[in-house]
Amino acid sequence: MNQLSVQHLLGIKHINKADIDLIFKTADHFKEVINRPIKKVPSLRDITIANLFFENSTRTKLSFELAEKRLSADVINFSASQSSVKKGETLIDTANNILSMKVDLIVMRHPHVGACDFLSKHVNARIVNAGDGTHEHPTQALLDSYSIREKLGSVAGKKIVIVGDILHSRVALSNIYALKLQGAEVKVCGPKTLLPKYIEELGVSIEPNIKKALEWCDVANVLRVQNERMAINYFPSTREYTQLFGINKSLLDSIGKKIVIMHPGPINRGVEITSDVADADQSIILNQVENGVAIRMAVIYLLAEQIKRN
């Protein structure tokens, strides 16, 4: 297997284990490339990529842009706040206008679930989902699994707990798909109001107690409390959330083993994790960021490879 089974990366739900293995294998090579004195390869010099961000992003956008530039692609950036979307242009019109400028691949983040799926059916370009609403964020899940594999040797058989706001988290959903696909055991831990009703249908179990969850797991992937997606109060106060589900050093020291701490960022320091945990040597948060560039290079490279030159 040296070709992806899909033409777009819309979500982990649409790919298989062999795809993940291929992406990781390719990312291994790119990780070596980005640690060279000159961190660039010329592979995509005749490919143009548009980054369409209809929702705010810092690290994902930077990471994608860096990945694209490290592959020598031409990159154009678009953010909704400065665009014609404000003037009422539809998504397809925006995308088609950009495609008229001969763009080969679109990386899109959008506040609406399924926006990338919709776009992939209506425009002639490869689509990479950089987060669609509360649905999926596939490259984040891939880089999370890649970081676990790097730290612990493999993902299969490992116990991973995802802590926090599962309901609003595209990172959680993509991670659950990716981890299950690779044979990991997954639990979720968070306030009942922030756990989707049928979450167990995905083959994960619920652990309401943070201490028990940490005692059980090899890796804790701690999610951000997404205040911007909460129109109502899902828990009484931030202070109460921190007391019940926040991870601090003394809690971590009390479980009697060293687990790996992950966070997709941005961190609310002092809310879901304290600074001493985020900066501890068992935290691989910054490795996740570095691996993010390698993973995105791999995804883009493998999709671009399918765009045959004629």
């Binding site: 390719t26 490339v33 004195p37 660039k40 010329p42 493998l302």
Partner: protein, 184 residues
């Protein structure tokens, strides 16, 4: 393994290869003395076997220690990306040193169109600016170049037509050392 229309004839046997490897090692010593400022780079995937063999000979038989040796993969530098039927598969690059101000010797098994070496010339720039770059090949297929690239050290020069393929087998991987010309 081979169909009826395919013929396979031996070009070099293991004894001949061994003699050639020793000659190439001596030629390298002639130009690079103690290899103090020289690095050997095997081109992935097939050049690395030849490079490893030469390093072993230089170390064991000519007592040259501390030879800097790396493996360079050129997949991401090739000029036929998106132009091939089957996707390319990358190999490991393993260069733990900077080639700035060094003499670099590229080592590959067969020189054909010269395109791999063109890619390697670009790829090596990621590791610094060498003083000079030389090319060592086991088999030089004459009259088949697409680019103005010629070897500095050659094991054997052969004239084969385009439909023929030259394959190098190595003991470590294929069971015995041999070079074949295969007629498709």
């Amino acid at each position: 393994m081979f169909g009826t229309t395919m013929s396979k004839k031996i070009l070099l046997n293991s004894k001949e290869i061994n003699i050639i490897l020793h000659r190439l090692a001596c030629q390298l010593i002639e130009n690079h003395n103690n290899f103090k400022n020289t690095v050997l780079i095997g081109i992935q995937p097939r050049g690395t076997f030849l490079a490893e063999r030469l390093v072993t000979i230089l170390k064991d038989e000519y007592h040259i220690s501390n030879i800097e040796f790396g493996q360079l993969d050129i997949t991401f530098y090739r000029d036929d990306f998106r132009r091939r039927e089957a996707p390319l598969e990358a190999n490991k690059t393993n260069i733990n040193f900077i080639v700035e101000d060094k003499n670099v010797v590229f080592i590959d098994d067969v020189l054909f169109s010269g395109r791999s070496i063109r890619a390697a010339l670009t790829a090596i720039q990621s590791f610094g600016r060498p003083i000079n770059i030389e090319l060592l090949v086991l088999i030089d297929r004459r009259f088949s170049r697409h680019l103005p690239i010629q070897p500095d050290y050659r094991g054997r020069q052969v004239d084969v037509i385009n439909e023929e393929k030259v394959t190098v087998n190595w003991k470590e991987r294929d069971g015995k050392d041999a070079v074949y010309i295969i007629n498709k």
